[in-house]
Symmetry: C2
Subunit: 597 residues, 2 copies
């Protein structure tokens, strides 16, 4: 049996070079030390570590989850340290960061490709590094020089790890209800007391220290979201030349369904009233700072989800090719050999649906990554702003589409494996468990939907939506030039126009003070946008494939696959648009009316 | 926190008494010993055991799955024996069977209600009894007197258990490729050799013996499906006054994702060439006999699935009511108390969707059970036949709808529980794992779809479909009398007429020799039928609720809930019908065309 490729190498090239034009991006001064070759080297290096180191360790690390030991420590799998070191050596933590802070200035678009292999290979192992990047970035953006030297440098170097400590038991998604308290002390640091739950990587024995980027309220702060501040709280605090315990204790490990190699823990801060915390940025600005980091974190979740669907997709293909099962319809001779599962129409349907979701997801995340790079590094301020607006609008979709539809793809991978798929002897069930978290963490799908409809599409008087219309029109023109069927082009063009109209109507409702009415069908609105945005991504890919297939040789099957998956998306998903629009417009109150008994 | 009701008692009464008219069914002579009161007593007794015995044991039995021990035995959870005895005492194994074989002649429709509590409480524990019923029924229908005395009596009495041993490692769903061999011996029994996989309850230490109803080929039998015979193979065979080992060994236990209290094992028959088997019925008729039992087995899977979605639905409601989280839109005062999750529109959406799936599923299975009773016990032969035809047509839908949509409902239960839902500390993830099997065993969804389109809707020149049209028209008349909106009635009436037309077109394709073209979109056809049949069930329920609410007091909320869920189904699912019909009619070949690379 062939080994799982994790992610399609050919598709990575297609997205980076043929669709999203990496070479143009590399013209920006920020990337002057990079070329397509150096980028390819980074992707190759990550791919190699993913396949040779992370993937072989995955099954055992999934089975043997860490637990809280008597002495209060949480010991990771014996392989965790070596894998962490391999990722540090690859430079994943600071790959996109500026050289000044020890980074490599690799475009985010390239790290999306490169890191997708690591995620597909072993999500929990990669995630610890991803969390460190996120925590260190908060310090890079908002910490002063002293804080950066004290914590950030060691985090980017992989010597210490980082976490995000937001959630509290009584508050969940409602960050305005954070209760942890911080009291200023004479030396300018704070003493923090409080309990945080679901802290991924909140306790481990792989790095020498862990820095928790933590939300808490300074004594006397205003109630609600405007009184929450951000602190850096190390597990061990610097004391003279060494490190001493900082009164942060792990009071429990959650038994998670997936991501099992990375412990999710409950942390108690300041049980002995001796937990020192360093304020990051200005007081009471914690949520605002967190929000500025959230786009990237949400794109990472979208990429996790896509990568997790990808590895299961390839496992399905391989299994379906290798497994003889039954005979074609109409062949009644029982002496004829069985045919592979791939010969059955319904198995091909499941594979095609997985492909449409996986490659649709990768296209959207790559697009979002390109916009991230442009929003940060384009020379023209107006262009930076435009890229940011579109990115901001697409983010809830890029987070939720792969999480929701990717889960469906992972479920199909089990189905294709039949009875075997329902056993721990095969891998699809493990990825399926991993995947389920992605609709929950970093903002549930419901929260993403309110972010999209309540904020993002309305941003700056609809400026982001207008820019989206322009970008989609470019794809429609490209599709016309490639002579793709009028029906598909019309479907996309009409759908997005109708959504524009619908969005204005919903916005008017909101302005008239009926926020409930405006947002009642926010989930459906997110689903509608997901279907259409992925339709856009498929039309873009099909248009490029059509044009390329006329001038490139040797990829006929690949380009034909793009066209078939595009056809599939329009035939099965884009056709849902009218009914979705009608339902959202109706504002039907049945959701809200039901007495849930 | 209130305890989980498992299944809605009020809904059970509604379906049995108000919708499906149990009292009429009880007029049939076969049920003369029963009354609504005796039926209610049986439901009550099952409900009590489910709540007080099975449900409390579930979490631990899910955690501590049996494994294969050194000595070749598989030891179930310590509580398994007592729970088995409780179910035997309830009389669940032979509840529907005739008094002659030790049964109680309870209508299947009543056992569907009663056993749904047991399944919701602890699927694996109930399943062992359900499998025994199925195996014993094969002997009741096809075994001779001697076989019935030898095996069946002890199975119905709960002294021995039964299994279905069909699947082999190389064959999976393709039963024509069964390879186990049987050689006749001088005393009329057979010696069997072969390996079977995924045998649920194939090894356990709770009953004193296990009888495996096994498919194997008699030496010299024709190849393929027409050479497969059915055998009864006991783990221990009668020898004089006692039992001796029958050369059936458990060679492995699968690590299943769910149903963990019930081991699924690999069995080796005749490794020492000393495995005696008793032929059931005539040689080479094994598949035919199995198929006659399959409807009931598939309805049981549909009921498993609905019950598993039900228990998670009630857990969601309770959690959503108890968990304060965030504030209503527009309330900005952070000092105001948090409101329960039920106050958020998106949570209500998820609850309503669960309700629509769970109660839609229960209605369909109850309808199918009513048809089962009528098909077996109606005095008029023509009525029996008609009931059977409709039952036969509905069976793949009654199996697949709860499995596929029920899984979605179980996934929503996790989502409502947020981060906690993703941990083993809460139950939704366990039910979600249990549920996943239902799209795979007893014929995958893909196989159900080919059964529906390739066989059932075409049966007897479309006679079954015609009867379905008549039954749906009765609901439409009732809905008109109850003054339900014309839009919903029109939607159902038009949809089923269009499906009738589509079905004729597909049938014509098949008759013209294009079986592949006919069946290419069989999955979509099954989905289409599922949506419309459940739409039928919802319109029927809403019509009854509307009529009842005018004359009954005290259930206003209940009846209103029925109406809202019906509205929801038509607004979200029935609107998918036109696009589904168009896709199926198009016969678009993209599924079949893709080279899965």
């Amino acid at each position: 049996m062939a080994s799982n490729p994790l992610v399609s190498d050919r598709n990575v090239d297609f997205l980076l070079k043929e669709v999203f034009d990496l070479s143009s991006l590399l013209q920006l001064p920020h990337f002057e030390d990079h070329s397509e070759e150096t980028c390819a080297l980074y992707v190759d290096a990550c791919r190699k570590v993913a396949k040779e180191r992370l993937f072989p360790a995955y099954p055992e690390m999934d089975r043997e989850a860490p637990s809280l030991e008597q002495d209060g420590t949480v010991r990771l799998h014996p392989q965790a340290r070596a894998l962490h070191e391999a990722l540090v050596e690859l430079g994943v933590i600071a790959a996109t960061r500026p050289a000044e802070v020890g980074g490599s200035q690799v475009p985010v678009m390239v790290t999306v490709a490169a890191h997708s292999y690591l995620m597909a290979a072993n999500l929990g192992v990669y995630a610890m590094e991803g969390l460190t990047t996120g925590a260190a970035r908060l310090l890079e953006s908002f910490g002063d020089e002293a804080l950066q030297r004290l914590f950030m440098d060691k985090m980017y170097a992989g010597q210490w790890s980082g976490t995000m400590a937001l959630t509290e038991p009584q508050a969940g998604s409602s960050l305005s209800d954070v209760k942890a308290t911080a009291t200023e002390t004479a030396d300018g640091t704070y003493r923090v007391r409080g309990t945080k739950v679901f802290i991924s990587g909140g306790a481990q024995d792989v790095t020498e220290n862990i820095v928790h980027l933590t939300l808490a309220r300074i004594e006397g702060a205003p109630a609600g979201i405007k009184g929450v501040s951000l602190f850096a709280i190390p597990a061990l605090r610097p004391d003279g030349e060494g490190l001493v315990p900082n009164d942060v204790t792990c009071s429990g490990v959650f038994h998670k369904v997936g991501w099992r190699s990375l412990p999710s823990v409950q942390l108690s801060f300041g049980e002995q009233d001796d937990c020192r915390a360093w304020l990051v940025g200005a007081p009471h600005q914690g949520i605002k700072m967190m929000f500025q980091m959230m786009n990237e974190a949400r794109l990472m979740v979208g990429l996790n989800a896509t990568a997790t669907a990808s590895v299961a997709f390839f496992e399905s293909i391989q299994y379906a090719k290798d497994r003889p099962q039954g005979r074609p319809l109409g062949v009644r001779d029982p002496a004829s050999p069985q045919v592979p599962l791939t010969e059955h129409a319904d198995v091909r349907r499941m594979l095609l649906r997985q492909k449409a979701i996986v490659e649709g997801g990768f296209a959207l995340i790559t697009k979002a990554a390109q916009l991230t790079d442009l929003s940060e590094h384009h020379a023209d301020e107006e262009k930076r702003k435009q890229a940011f607006l579109v990115l901001d609008l697409l983010t809830p979709i890029a987070k939720s589409f792969p999480a929701e539809y990717g889960f469906e793809a992972n479920t199909l991978a089990i189905q294709i494996h039949g009875g075997y798929g329902y056993t721990a002897e095969y891998l699809p069930e493990a990825w399926w468990r991993d995947q389920k978290l992605n609709t929950i963490h970093e903002g549930t799908t419901g929260i993403q939907s309110m972010d999209l409809l309540g904020r993002k599409v309305m941003a700056e008087g609809g400026a982001a939506f207008q820019l989206l219309l322009v970008a989609i029109q470019e794809t429609l023109d490209k599709a016309a030039a490639a002579e793709l069927p009028e029906g598909m082009r019309h479907s996309l063009g009409q759908s997005i126009q109708q959504i524009a109209q619908l969005t204005m109507e919903l916005g008017a409702k909101g302005l008239a003070g009926d926020a409930e009415g405006m947002l009642r069908h926010s989930y459906d609105y997110l689903d509608l946008m997901s279907v259409v945005i992925i339709g856009w991504m498929w039309l873009e890919q099909a248009a490029v494939a059509e044009a390329q297939s006329r001038c490139t040789r040797g990829s006929e099957d690949f380009y034909r696959g793009k066209r078939l998956a595009c056809d599939y998306w329009f035939a099965t998903e884009m056709v849902r648009v009218p009914a979705l629009i009608e339902r959202i417009r109706s504002g039907k109150a049945s959701y809200a009316d039901l007495n849930p008994n």
